[in-house]
Each structure stands twice: as structure tokens, then as C-alpha cells.
Assembly symmetry: C3
Homo-oligomer: 349 residues x 3
């Protein structure tokens, strides 16, 4: 990171300290970056641009609006509840409501009542974030995106029972059945692989758009080359594993087998553990396990007609983080100051 | 509370201290009142009368007997296991087995084997109460009615596999589907709303009977006007929200969208937090969230053919109670002695 | 236990201390014995012989190989992760991967990719064992076989989505329905009961083979007559209860209602509590509850097409162990040295 960048950062930080409005914008931008476990307003800004691009080019601009509304409502709710100041400033109360807003707008049909449902859901997500955070403090693991997953499952499952909040892209509920072997026949070329892997990144925001994925990788690289690298690694490994195991080619191409794996790779590879030759095979096993959990939740949730969201990332990352306390050699919580991974991203999570 | 009432209470307490039989009756009556998070034998007595009325006028008197058998078996099991004395005396080991007994008698077809199943279930509910209480102690939140919910789910799901314990009102299991918009068309009048809201209260005991609901409100008012008020508030809000969202009119009229919300309103509004202008909007969000969780569990449990029971209340209340430790302004655990909410109801929960 | 046996044990222990290869064999044999909560290499050896017998006589020899591969991969993974030495030596990182390997080989169709899937699954099971162990340390209860259950559920549910990892014996997913009363009509004779009860024991390893069951009882008796006795007790009680309630005769005869109950009986009766006249009725209630949980999970898992595995044992035993901390009279954790139950089996679990 060169001196000029640091200078810009410093100026922004001082402006945020002085002006409440700049501070509010800063908190929300950091919130957007925390979806990828980063803590950097510029990363957040590029991510929001990427989401807008994906939503607009997919002709679903209201999904980007839903994301921003969720982000702002969630952050404001946290302020009203007088949450502790440091995690608030780091954007840790923004990223879950952002995803809730995005998912509600994507899966349900737009209507005035849908927007009310979205606002209630975003506010509830902040409460759930506090609750899950309190529970997980016991084991020193972060809530990750579980508050979003849990709240959104409630909102989407609930929508089936409400005639005035209609499903757009949900379900239909069905009994699971083995995947058709023909669906798994894929002609694997670079033209298949590259956009698939970029969509692995964009699907973290439930969008299948390779440009969005590429922009997000740039956003990550701005804050941490390691994070961008592990994101690419997660996309490559998960795509190859899903192809090898014979998952549906269409699902692979849409990025559905990779988005949780991308997050797992970033989380295990360079956020909660320090990158090392010991950590890489461990993170690799974690990424492969994430692909299996993704497939498992696709099966398990079929009868109730909702998507797995980022639950595979959450479950796999929790299971691979919890052993850390007992395992001396991989206990690398504190990132050294000279490390390329910046500013203790996600430390408070 | 006037002096005379206090005098009656005092006399009863002294009789309970002296006579083991009176004490046993007292413990069981308090157990009945603890379903609504109260600790008052008179409240419990009126609640039992209300349940008997509902069961008899619905021509299912054995359901009231099931409730009483569950209550007594659960309390006796707790005594045999030598549980701590104070929570036992407060009725905290009675209310979950009471509900288990009531639900088994309601959902399964009466037969000698059903009664054995009910007794086993009530005894197991006490063990599960101890287990869940031990787990939740870590975060200082109470088990609420979760021991009843968990044990009864096991008992009802299990009944499908036992030819000699037949289902009465279960299922049938089916894939969920969006509610029919015509089912949500309701002609909203006072004649629809008032009994619906009273049934919201009675459905806490799985009975759709407005007289039972009215009697329970009286039972609450005897111990705490706040509790009765928040119960009414929970019923009003949940009914209006369910109507607005377009839930099935028949389900609303039976009280199915309100009974968990009523409990959430009492729990958040005046038992675990102290009533205040800060708590009211928080409890309001909790009540609306309970309605959404209720709808979500209706969808999620459809394929396995069991009801949500009071799980929506439990999940919503846990999620809205857990943040309390981190939130100074809403940390009102101790009820002041002069407060209208009596005798620290539910304190040990 | 006579002097000669002790002498043999002593010699083996010294050889294990000296020779890393003997130690590795010892750790794996203890791992096999820990499935039944024992810590004895001879018990483990006889159990492995019993599993081989069952697999070979059922013409599925690869299932026994899967078990051994899982055991070895799991143990080696634990070594690579530098887990604490004492529980490793006691075989506590071996029994869950053993069961994962066995289940993957049994439920999925053999192929090179299946073996890779099995190895990934066994390694992941060790990570999950560490994670679950860390979580449960909070309440001083052991993971039991839950790491196997959780990981295997992920692996089997996931297999539905992978065209190149085909199901052998899974599902098909279906909505649950009440058991047919004719299926519950059983002509109960000694010729029905005895092999059924022995298969209750063998089904712990997912094998329906009465000789395997008899060999396992011998294996238990070698280490602890109490364990063998409670295993028999669990089989008898669960079979009679399942017959009485009217469970499917075929399922009872295959041992499907008894294998979790056998483990619950051993765990509650003589491993975590000390055998006594107070503990016996408590363990009895636990065994009956296990049968109900087994039936409940059969219903609940039908729509997603996977088996309950040993989850009924895990859930029932956890619920019946957790109250111990609050209950003075049944708090018999430390086994006295003169007790027939040997060497504090399962103490570290």
C-alpha cells in the first residue's frame, strides 16, 4: 500500500470523525465491504457499484435498491438500539441487513407491502445479529452471515402463507430427487469456466453476472490482495470439485456451487487464520466441504421451497473455525501489523 | 392491589408452608399460571377453569384431563429428581408438562396406550426442561415453553410410526404451497375481530374458544394488569398484521396467528423488560416478527405434518431477549418492588 | 479381571509406549471400541472382526473396508492437526470417522470417486469432532457420535446433487404417512425376539446380523460386564416398547428401533452415571424416550431421504445427561476404582 493511498484513507477517516453525515456514509460503506469480511469504505463503494451493475443489467434494479434500503435500515436500527460503538463503526451491523434487503427484493414480487416487509426484515436482522453474536461470544466465533440467513429464511418461508406478499422466484417446494446425469454433462472450456468462476463471486450477492464478480474482485484487491487471491482460489476449487462430482452444469455455470466456497476460502485462508502452508490445505478441505454442504442443503431445503443462501459458508466456516482454540499450530488470530491483510478486517466479528 | 387481597395471599402462603398437600396444590396452580409467565396460584386456578370450559364446550373433556395429568406428572417427576426448591415452588417445572399433556390428548386419539404415552411424555418433558435450562443458563435466557415444544414434536412425529398410537388431528403431511388469495378474503367487522383476538389468547392452550380467552385475560389481570394489557395488545397487533399481510382468514379467526404473539408481547413487554416507551416499539417489532415466524414454521413443518405449537413465541422471544446483555438502555431485568407487575414473575425462568 | 489378563494388558501398553506402529494400531483399536463408549483395544479388535463378519456374510465386504479406511483417515487427520495427546491415545478421534466411512460405503454405490468422497468425509469428521467438542465443553457433555451423524447427513444429502456419486441405499424421499397397522402385526416368539435383539446391537454399525451382535456383546463383556448387561437391557426394553406401541415388525426385526436405545442404555446406565437403583429407572425412561425419538426422526427425515443414523441416541443421551449438573443425587461422574466398569471408559468424551 503506497503512501498516497494511506493519505487518502487518513483524510477520509478524519472527515468521518468530524462530520456525522460522512461518518454515516462511512459506516454503511464499511457495512457493504463486511459481506466479504473486509473493513474498507472504498471496497464497500466498489461492491455497491458492482451490485447496481448486476441488478440493472439483469433488469431488476429494485434489487439494488432493496440492498441499500436494508443496509441503511439495519444500521439505523443498530444506532437506535445503542449498540457498542466500535463494531458499529466497523460496519458489522450493516452487512446482514443489506443481504436481507437484497434477498427479499429478489425472491418476492415488488409491491408497497413487500417494501414494508423488507424494512421489518432488515430491522429484525439487526436484532438477530445482536442475539446470535451474544450466543457465539461463548466460543469466540463470529455470526458471519447467519443473522441474514436465519431472518431471510423466516421471511421467505412466511411469504408462502401471506396472500398479499407474493413469491417471485421461490420454490416451488418439491421432494428432492437424484440429479439427472444428463444435466451434469458439461463441455468444459475456458469460455465456460471463467464466467462461471466470476459468477461464483457475484452470487454472494445472489446475482449471476460475471462483470459484477470481476468488480468485486477489484474491490477486494483494493483492501487485500490475499482476500482477492483466496476468493479466486475458492471459485476455482469449488467449480472444479462440483464439475468432478457431477453437479448440474447449469447450477455450476450460474455460480451456485461457488459463492459460499468463495466466502469460506477468504474467511479460513486469510481473515481468521494467517495465510501459511499449514493453513492452505486446511482451507482447501474447508472449501471442498462447503461444496458438499451446499449440495446437502439444496436437497434438504427442496421440500420447503427456499434457497440455502450463504448457510453452507456459515456452517462450514464455523466448523472449521471452532477447532482453532484447541489447536496451537493454527491459532493465528491476530494479524501482524505488517501483514498485507489490512487493518484487522473482521477482527471484531 | 388492596390490603384484603394481600391478606388472602398471605394466609394461603402460610398454609402452603405448613401443609404438604396445600403446598403440592399451590405448586401445581403456579405451574398453570407460568404458561403465561405469571407466578400466582389464583391465576393458575382461573386458567385451569378456562381450559376446562374450553375443553368441555368443545366436547373434548379428555384434553383438560390430559393437561392436569401432564401438570401433576411433570411436577412429581421434578420432585423425584430432587430439583432445586425455589423454581419448583414457583411452578417452573409444571407448565411445560401441562402443555405436553394437553397437546398429546388433543392431537392423538384417546386409548389406554395414549395415556401411557402422555405420562411418559410429561415425565420426559421435565427432564428436557432441566436439560434446556442448563444449556440456556450460559446466556441467562429462560427455556420458556421450548421443552414442551421439543418433547411434543418428538411425541407427535413418533406417533406416525406407531400403529397403536393413532393420530387424531395431525397432518396430513404435504408440500407447502402459497396460500389461496380467496382464503385471505375476510369481511373484517367487530364480530370477526373480537372473538378472533380472544381466541388468540385461548389458543395458547390449543383451544379455539373466546370464553376461554376472556377468562384467561381475567386470570392475568388478577396478577398483573400490565400482563393482561400486553396480552390484549399482542392479540390486536398480530390479528391486524396477519389480516394486512393476507393470511388465511380461517386461521386468523381460529387464533392461530395470535397465540404466540400474545406470549411474546407479555414476555417482552412486561416480564423480562420493564414497560417503558423504549420497550414498547421493541416489543412491537418482536410481535410482528413472531407473526412472520409463525407463518414460516407453518410452511416449514407442512411436509412432516406437525404444528408449530408455541415455537414462534420461543424463537422470537429468545432472539429479542438475547441482545439485552449488550444493550444498556433496555437492561431492565429486576422489576422494582413497587411495580404493578407482581412478585418478580418468571424471574427464575 | 484376573491377574493374567492384567498382565497381557500391561505388556501391550508397554509395547504401545515403545513402538509407534503398535501405538498407532492401539489407538485405532481403541477408536473402534469407543463407538460403544469403551476404551479397550481388545474390545475394538473383536468389534472389527464382528463388523467384517457382518459385511462379508451380507456380501458387502467393501463396507468393512470403508469402516477401516474411515478409522485410519480420521485418526491420521487428528494427528496432522496436532490434537491433544490423551484423547487421541484413548481413540476419541477414531470412532466418528469409522462410522462415517462405514455409512458412506453402505449408502453410496462403490466407485473410485465414492472412495475419495469417503476419505474427504472421514477427514472432515475429525474437524467436526473438534468443533462439536469445543462447543459442548461449555456444558461438560461429550460429542458422542454427533460428528458422524452431522457429517454423514451432509455427505448423503449432498450425494443427491452429484451425478457421479450415486446413491445405493438412500431414500427415496417421500412424505411421511402413518404406519400400516398390518405392518405392525408380529407373531412374537423367541425365534423372533432373540435375533431381533442381537440385531439391535449390530445395527449400531448399520448391519443387520445377529452373529455380529453376539460378537459385539462379547467384545463389551471383555471390557465391562455392566456395559454388556446394559446393552442387552437396552435391546430388550426397546424391542418390547416398539412392539407394544405397534412399530413396523420388519423394522423391529432388523434392529432399527433398538440400536440407538442400546447405546443410550450403555451411556446412561454405566458410563456417564454409576449403576445404581436410582439410575436404572432414569436410564429406563431414557431408553423409552430414545425409541420415541427414533420414530420421530424416521418421520421427520422421510421427505429428505436420509436415515436417522445414531441421532436418536445422541439427542436422548444429551437431554438425559445435561440435568446431571443440577441434580446432586445422580451426579456420579467419577467411577470408583474398584468398580467393574473399567478404566474410566469415555471419561474424556
Amino acid at each position: 500500500m503506497n503512501i498516497q493511498e494511506s493519505w487518502h484513507r487518513e483524510a477520509w477517516r478524519r472527515a468521518a470523525d468530524r462530520d456525522p453525515l460522512v461518518r454515516f456514509v462511512d459506516v454503511n460503506l464499511r457495512g457493504a465491504s463486511q459481506v466479504f469480511l473486509q473493513n474498507n469504505p472504498l471496497t464497500g463503494l466498489i461492491i455497491l457499484v458492482a451490485v447496481c451493475w448486476g441488478a440493472i443489467s439483469g433488469r431488476i434494479p429494485h434489487v439494488a435498491i432493496g440492498a441499500v434500503v436494508g443496509l441503511v435500515v439495519g444500521t439505523v436500527t443498530a444506532m437506535l438500539l445503542k449498540v457498542p460503538r466500535t463494531p458499529l463503526r466497523d460496519g458489522l451491523y450493516g452487512f446482514n441487513p443489506l443481504l436481507t434487503g437484497l434477498a427479499v427484493a429478489l425472491f418476492l414480487r415488488p409491491s408497497p407491502l413487500m417494501w414494508l416487509y423488507l424494512v421489518i426484515g432488515a430491522a429484525a436482522t439487526t436484532v438477530v445479529t445482536l442475539a446470535i453474536g451474544d450466543v457465539l461470544k461463548t466460543w469466540d466465533v463470529p455470526p458471519l452471515t447467519f443473522p441474514f440467513v436465519l431472518t431471510t429464511w423466516f421471511l421467505l418461508l412466511g411469504a408462502y402463507q401471506f396472500a398479499r406478499i407474493r413469491s417471485g422466484n421461490l420454490g416451488p417446494p418439491s421432494l428432492p430427487h437424484p440429479v439427472d446425469p444428463r444435466a451434469a454433462q458439461v463441455h468444459v472450456t475456458g469460455a465456460f469456466l471463467t464466467p462461471s468462476m466470476l459468477r461464483d463471486v457475484s452470487e454472494v450477492f445472489l446475482l449471476a453476472n460475471w462483470v459484477t464478480g470481476a468488480l468485486i474482485l477489484i474491490a477486494l484487491a483494493v483492501n487485500s490482495l490475499w482476500a482477492a487471491g483466496f476468493a479466486v482460489g475458492g471459485a476455482v476449487v469449488s467449480t472444479l470439485v462440483a464439475l468432478w462430482f457431477g453437479a448440474s452444469g447449469k447450477a455450476i455455470s450460474t455460480g451456485l456451487y461457488g459463492f459460499s466456497a468463495v466466502l469460506t476460502a477468504v474467511a479460513l485462508g486469510c481473515v481468521f487464520y494467517r495465510p501459511s502452508w499449514r493453513v492452505v490445505p486446511y482451507a482447501l478441505l474447508g472449501v471442498v466441504f462447503t461444496v458438499i454442504v451446499q449440495a446437502a442443503l439444496n436437497t434438504a431445503l427442496a421440500p420447503v421451497g427456499v434457497a440455502a443462501l450463504t448457510a453452507p459458508f456459515v456452517f462450514a466456516t464455523w466448523l472449521f473455525l471452532l477447532p482453532k482454540r484447541g489447536l496451537t499450530p493454527t491459532r493465528h488470530r491476530e494479524l501482524p501489523e505488517h501483514d498485507v491483510v489490512g487493518s484487522g478486517a473482521g477482527k471484531a466479528r
